[in-house]
Amino acid sequence: MRHTLDTRVSPYAYVAPFFLLFGAFGLFPLFYTAWVSLHEWTLLDEEQTFIGLKNYETLLADGYFWNATFNTLSIGVLSTVPQLVLSIWLAHLLNRRLRFQTLFRISLLLPNVTSVVAVVVIFSQLFGRDFGLINWMLSLVGVGQIDWAAGTATSHIALSVMIMWRWTGYNALIFLAAMQAVPRELYEAATLDGASGATQLRRITIPMIRPTIIFVVIVSTIGAMQVIAEPMLFGTSSGGGGGLVSGGPDRQFQTLALYVYEQAFTVFDFGYASAASWVMFLIVVLVAGVNFLLSRRVKGGLL
């Protein structure tokens, strides 16, 4: 007879490291941030006074906070939606017998392993107003010079392209892994029935990889809600001016995470920044939840 204690306890021991780390670096900061957010708490003052929900009151009336929320959602939609469509399509293309299969798959992952700094610096040059490659190509088809960083919509597009560049291939690989688990017989039967490639994608592949789609949607949404490095670096390398953390002089591309960073690490108002990051956390949970419910409803023609 085996030790019942062993069989009962050891599973918990195996998972304990995760929960210990999560407690120390996840849960504790979460609650401590909530505590800080109830105080007038700046880096430079020795004393912190309890002020209840006052930070939240100020925050909800703060136009810059809502501006950042709008920018985050806008960049989120602009980057996530095309990215998912594109990555499913790429995965579909790779999910067949190809020469140099491994080469293609690895090259999908390359943009993701590039440093985000390098990506933003290079894309800022591509999106340059005076000597940028994209404006030059557009001028060939008669489109005038676009000041990408200056406009609200144009800067969101530029940032979305950078985000898509990094994450499309990564998501495509996840989709590809899921697609390879779809039984071949379904496709064979469909081919016999005369279904085209596109119909097979729509009617077989997508319904079969639904759990993966839900997973990717949730993870991409959360990632998109927390974008900070791209707008921060775009601000300094685009020549449009504005402070390091303001996301352009009109805050036209300041995201929520960047706003939190501004309040915490340039204004040094930790109380207010904590309140902002708590509201941001709630927004992320809310948006991720909505997307979860929406993507669960994804159905193909199979069902």
Partner: protein, 434 residues
């Protein structure tokens, strides 16, 4: 049930974990390392860290210093301007990570002299003897708020001048000679009028000025009172000189004279190389920038007097944080890096202009020229500019206020707002700065 729970719980937990990763981020610092590993290796060897926001031309001087201090190793660490000062605020507050010698630009000097308990009083190391060397106002800026403690020793001053491209002026039919160019613009209104002439000539690929931001700063610095009154009250909304600077800067935008290249960004650097603008406001330290960025433009740049009279823009102090484990050596290094000879040498190499008036009439400075600027008497121009300087009181949040106003100018430049709308928002933003 369980699978249903998991389907909801897993994304939620992931969401919390990822959200927190952001909430907790931002504290990472690449610069911090073992503070004194030199000291650990042997009892005598020590390491001094020097924290700068740009190359102040100290490198050759470190070697000199080591000759008299063979046990000292010096590590220089250069960070981007805003990051450098923000990090210093953080490191002082958390009592960890500051270098032994920290450079502080005038825009931030009052922020730090208001916290004398965080720095060593250099008087303890006999550096009050240096007072006689300095421009009086430069010396005063380095003292603690209540006076009495010597917290920082000045490095340079940024007397104002105006740099211009001779070749572009020629193309636009404007004079090239620096006396005649100076005669074009006794006032800022004249400067704008000259700009209009330049624009009318339609020189391909070139605007009159890089951006209005530094011009705004220069005009404010020329006034007797700037963004703060001597009692440290913000006077942005009530000082007519600030509003005048705002209006003039926006007029430059309205007349289409700006290349819209914000200073110290990569496109601004490209602008130098491509000759995208014909004039740039030019404190002494800017000459080093021009030379570095416009490498193929030898002989094309010249320097004239600035419109609107003398003023100062930029300049730094060196301070020794209380955290330093080797304050004696750090103070000796500060002394060494700011001596008359050191400042003269730095000027000749980097264009950073001394804050020691005895040098201004020194023949080697007066007659100093640089191959890049042709026969331009750089030494003479900046000596005169520095002699004519009138000091201006700088307040504790000078840099933050300037950022808010800079954003305002940017909004007008990018066509987002009218100058009046933007000014209203600037005043709101400034009110929030505590």
């Amino acid at each position: 049930m369980t699978s249903r729970f998991r389907r909801i719980a897993v994304p939620l937990i992931t969401a919390s974990a990822l959200a927190l990763a952001t909430a907790a981020c931002g504290g990472s610092d690449t610069a911090s390392g073992p503070a004194s590993d030199g000291a650990a290796a042997s009892a005598e060897k020590i390491q001094l860290k020097v924290g700068l926001f740009g190359d102040l031309g100290f490198k050759p001087l470190y070697e000199e210093f080591k000759k008299t201090h063979p046990n000292v190793e010096i590590v220089e660490n250069i960070t981007q301007f805003n990051d450098h000062h923000n990090n210093l605020v953080k490191r002082l507050a958390t009592n960890a990570g500051a270098a032994d010698v920290e450079a502080v630009e005038v825009g931030y000097i009052s922020t730090f002299t208001a916290q004398p308990q965080k720095f060593h009083d250099l008087k303890q190391y006999g550096l009050d003897k240096r007072q006689g060397d300095y421009l009086d106002w430069k010396w005063q800026q380095g003292l603690s708020k209540q006076g009495g403690q010597v917290l920082g020793l000045g490095t340079d001053v940024g007397g104002l001048a105006m740099c211009y491209r001779k070749d572009l002026f020629k193309k636009a039919g404007l004079p090239e000679d620096r006396e005649k160019v100076a005669a074009l613009w006794p006032t800022w209104e004249d400067y704008i009028a000259t700009g209009k002439k330049f624009a009318a000539a339609d020189v391909a690929g070139a605007k009159f000025v890089d951006a209005p931001g530094e011009i705004f700063r220069a005009i404010v610095n020329q006034a007797p009172t700037g963004l703060y009154d001597p009692q440290d009250n913000l006077v942005v909304d009530s000082n007519p000189d600030v509003k005048k600077a705002w209006d003039l800067s926006n007029q430059i935008t309205a007349e289409g004279l700006t290349a819209k290249l914000a200073a110290f960004t990569p496109p601004w650097n490209t602008g130098f190389a491509k000759g995208s603008f014909a004039t740039i406001i030019c404190p002494a330290w800017m000459t080093g920038f021009i030379q570095e960025q416009a490498k193929d433009a030898t002989g094309k740049w010249d320097i004239a007097t600035v419109p609107g009279g003398s003023g100062n823009s930029g300049g730094s102090h060196l301070m020794v944080p209380k955290q330093s484990k080797h304050p004696k050596e750090a103070a000796e290094l500060v002394d060494f890096l700011t001596t008359k000879d050191a400042q003269a040498q730095i000027f000749k190499e980097e264009g950073i202009f001394p804050s020691i008036p005895a040098l201004y009439d020194d023949p080697s400075i007066q007659s100093f020229t640089k191959p890049f600027f042709g026969d331009t008497p750089i030494g003479k121009i900046y000596s005169e500019a520095a002699k004519a300087l009138k000091p201006q009181h700088l307040g504790p949040k000078e840099a933050d206020v300037r950022t808010a106003i800079g954003n305002g100018l940017g909004r007008v430049e990018q066509g987002k707002q009218t100058p009046d709308e933007s000014w209203a928002q600037v005043l709101e933003d400034v009110k929030k700065i505590k």
